[in-house]
Symmetry: C2
Subunit: 228 residues, 2 copies
Amino acid sequence: MTAKRAPATEARLRLNRERVLRTAIRLADEGGIERLTMRKLGEELGVEAMSLYNHVSNKEDLLNGMIDAVFGEIELPSHGDDWKTAMRKRSVSVRDMLSRHPWANGLMDSGTNPGPATLRHHDRVLGTFRNGGFSIAMTAHAFAALDSYIYGFARQEKGLPFDGGEQAAATAQTMLAHLPVDEYPYLVELMAKHVLQRGYDYSNEFTFGLDLVLDGLERARDSGQADA
Amino acid sequence: MTAKRAPATEARLRLNRERVLRTAIRLADEGGIERLTMRKLGEELGVEAMSLYNHVSNKEDLLNGMIDAVFGEIELPSHGDDWKTAMRKRSVSVRDMLSRHPWANGLMDSGTNPGPATLRHHDRVLGTFRNGGFSIAMTAHAFAALDSYIYGFARQEKGLPFDGGEQAAATAQTMLAHLPVDEYPYLVELMAKHVLQRGYDYSNEFTFGLDLVLDGLERARDSGQADA
DNA sequence: TGGACAAGCTTACAACGTACATGTAGCCTA
DNA sequence: TAGGCTACATGTACGTTGTAAGCTTGTCCA
């Protein structure tokens, strides 16, 4: 058993930061962020929990690393497109990332220091606005407005009792049955005449708001009201 | 010590759900949601942790109760105003609530079942749109777009390394010093020429996006493109 | 051959949510 | 006035969490 370069009794592959992060992301995707514990992550990697600390300095570092990794999945705004289509594509890409990794949205506020992928992403977004003819001040406005909408939408989507889809209709149905019609008439109306209609899917609302914001930004840029 | 109606050796006031919730909210406001533990909450109320379970069924119930309580703080859209000013006022009120209780934003996605204050609030918002001439489908769009923006903005604000204000400028300063200019030119530009300018405050961005969304909604309502 | 060093393991601890059993104060009925 | 019911507070305990500290071991260079 003292073989120098033996085929590693069990072909045990070495741990490294990337493997730790990738596995952590998978666990969080599958079972939710609250099920991601150091022990479970270790187990998944065939290793004791404490061994992970050779590759991440603590759990916060792990979470920050995960955030930066999923930021790297977002499609950067392309230089080839005009600013509006470029931003539209990357916005949809952000949203896709957030539905692949729903835990990411709730984590980013705790992430004080952004990683390199995050910084690169933001830089490219800002650059797209600047090259699209936005002043610096208007770029700041645009960035704030657009990303607020995108992340806010993902947040809402997660919190809503009705997700759209088949089995969610049942949820809405029972919820509707328990709602006092005279106390919440408009909620009841919306549920009955809209949410419960065949084919309703809340996620379809995304592009409506996205275009609304993008069009609004274009108008604001052109009227140039906000150089202050 | 067997006095029947003695002035209660220590004037100990009885616990009740409202007092528990109010104290929990204060603790979360002061020290962040992660410092709110059952033991600390009990201590703050002069009571053992387990006593709390006579008034909340578990920690999740406590958190849900807190959410509904702060929802009750939001100014409902007034029937007197036209839809746009009414929604503008309530949007600002939501934002104010979220800066008083920053923890609330991160908690609402886990809150599966909304409380009465939450339901009433949503009902009034929907009603304001309906009475403002929005179709049912457009009301759904409007609700999704507007609230996504509001909650998303609060979320962004919390996560940003630069908050605006005096001491935050210093943070931005050092951050700027560590950023490689050639790698993140637009980030550097924004920081140097905008964020670090005297009087910059990210929170001022809120009304820009708010008006952008409200104006966009008005336009969408009038063109009535979305009855589908 | 030896010894340094990185990486994994073992043990341990404090803080958390909360189950369960026990105590007790105050009101209702007899 | 006595007895007992109910609501609420306590005490103790367990399993799970993140992680500090020290130990062991496999690998590589001198």
